[in-house]
């Protein structure tokens, strides 16, 4: 099962629509509810990252009997220092973004906590790619 969503940078009102759709799909499969929630939380955080930091992005989701694989590729400023970005509480979010309740620096650590595998690659000035795997 393959799903694909376009994500618009800066569109905070729509942030979370893609991850909600994925969650709705998962609820129709016999997957432990706890796992559905873990996936929902990870994908929401990942989606918000694109909205808050990038210009635009694409979320590609592949679901099989064994698990879910998600690839989020964005065009944006990229991440200078991935190790620092993974630290809890570290954020480069602008004041404007923080005023909207985002940018607490918990996004990436929270994603990692909810996934079985996570891979983050980035080219500063070009964009970031985040790959997640959660096994059923």
């Amino acid at each position: 099962m393959h799903l694909q969503f376009e994500i618009e940078g800066g569109d905070f009102s729509a942030a979370g629509e893609a991850s909600s759709e994925v969650k709705k799909t998962l609820k129709q499969l016999n997957i432990p509810p706890v796992l559905v929630r873990r996936i929902a939380v990870a994908l929401y955080e990942a989606e918000v990252n694109v909205v808050a930091h990038a210009y635009r992005g694409v979320m590609e989701v592949d679901i099989s009997g064994g698990g879910i694989y998600v690839k989020l590729k964005d065009k944006g400023p990229g991440i200078e220092n991935i190790d620092r970005a993974m630290e809890e509480g570290f954020s480069t979010a602008s004041d404007k973004v923080r005023e909207m309740g985002f940018g607490a620096g918990m996004g990436l650590p929270n994603i990692k906590k909810n996934c079985d595998e996570m891979k983050l690659t980035s080219t500063p000035g070009v964009g970031t790619t985040l790959e997640l795997t959660i096994n059923f």
Binding site: M1, Q28, L29, N30, P33, V34, V36, S64, G65
Partner: protein
Amino acid sequence: MKGQHYVHAIQVNTEKCIGCSHCMQVCSTQAIRIVNGHARIMPERCVDCGECYSVCPVAAVYVKDDELELNLQKFIYKIALVPAVFFGQFPTQYSVSQISSAIRKLGFNAVFEVEHAVDFIKEQYVEIAEDAEIARPVISSFCPSVVRLIQVMFPSLTENILRLKAPHDLAAIYLRHINSNSNINPEEIGVFYFTPCASKIVAAKAPEGEDDSPTDVVVSMKLLYNKVYRIIKDIPLSDDLKRSSTMEPDSIKWALSATEREYFKGRSLAIDGVENVIKFLEKLESGHITDIDFLELRVCDQGCAGGILCPGNRFLTVERIGERVKKLQNRLVENKEVVNPLMNHRELLEKGCKTEAIKPREGLLLDDDVEIALQKMKKIKALNSYLPGFDCGACGAPTCKNLAEDIVKGKANMSYCVFVQRVMEKNYKLSPEQAFQTIEKIWGKDRLNKYKDNHGEKES
């Protein structure tokens, strides 16, 4: 799939049902289809919220409750367990004691107000709020339709549902206990609960997380209202102002919206109305909303004052209950303290107040096997892309996507869609006769009678 048997109070009388599909359009869990000219409710999806009952133009959707008269004969000692919203159905010229007298006149030995148990629940909430082990947000278990809605549509939130019995159950446990020392055989003591909604009937017949309910008979509040109304004018007005209040004044507002939440320490929200509840839970389950300690959710707008079995106007009921709270508060000033008889039996209630964990239901599942479910999902997606997407409902399902799901489940086929039908006819894949039969299968045989073509001759 497990194929569990689910009990429901909302039923369709096919004799009366005209297959107008109003109910199908308003059902929040897409649990209704039109089959053979009548509405059919899918038991695995229905949460007994009663939206369908409210829109049915011919009263074909009904609430199955217990028989009052027969049960009054069956028991020797009869207790009426009445919620505060019942007293709120009557104009303020009638006092609570007058209404209670009227209920006793109908054959009851005692009348007890459900909300006495709320004082006990308030104490429990203080303890529960301190327990960091319980998953946040804690979701109130008060509204049985909310519990079922979560089981069906938000299975991952079932662990957040508070494992505490509802006020009417706790009040019934107390009533059974205090009457157990009398000379009457416990089996001959009948606790009759009068309900403002359908879901509380289901909660009493098939409680979630409980083996058995302590109530014996559950009857619609509408019936009691009519019976009381007929005799209340003849009941003398008694002066009950001197008596102490038997519960904390605001406990009688518990079933409405936004009182319960005040008693749970931390950040709490009160949400009423089924669509509002669904939208909020959707966001909560997706992780968009965090850091909330407690959620008070009611499927009906204005809480139980908006219950489908409440004959009065919900806003007037809320106003009257508010007035009564003020009256009780004044009485409190004069008499100083609340004397709630139920609170002398805390230990008994503490032992019996918890429920088992609430388990998810299978209403959304396509198959137990993930691989097979994925295959079905692919088919649904493919079929859905062929359907027009207007959700016209002419196929007997509320949305095109629901039709696609029904087809994959083997309960419908592509020709149910009137648009697909036209194309099939044009391509000689379906004869006009077959198309006609398909429409009859969904909407019933008699449905097309009025369009009979008499070849230009008028029927006399």
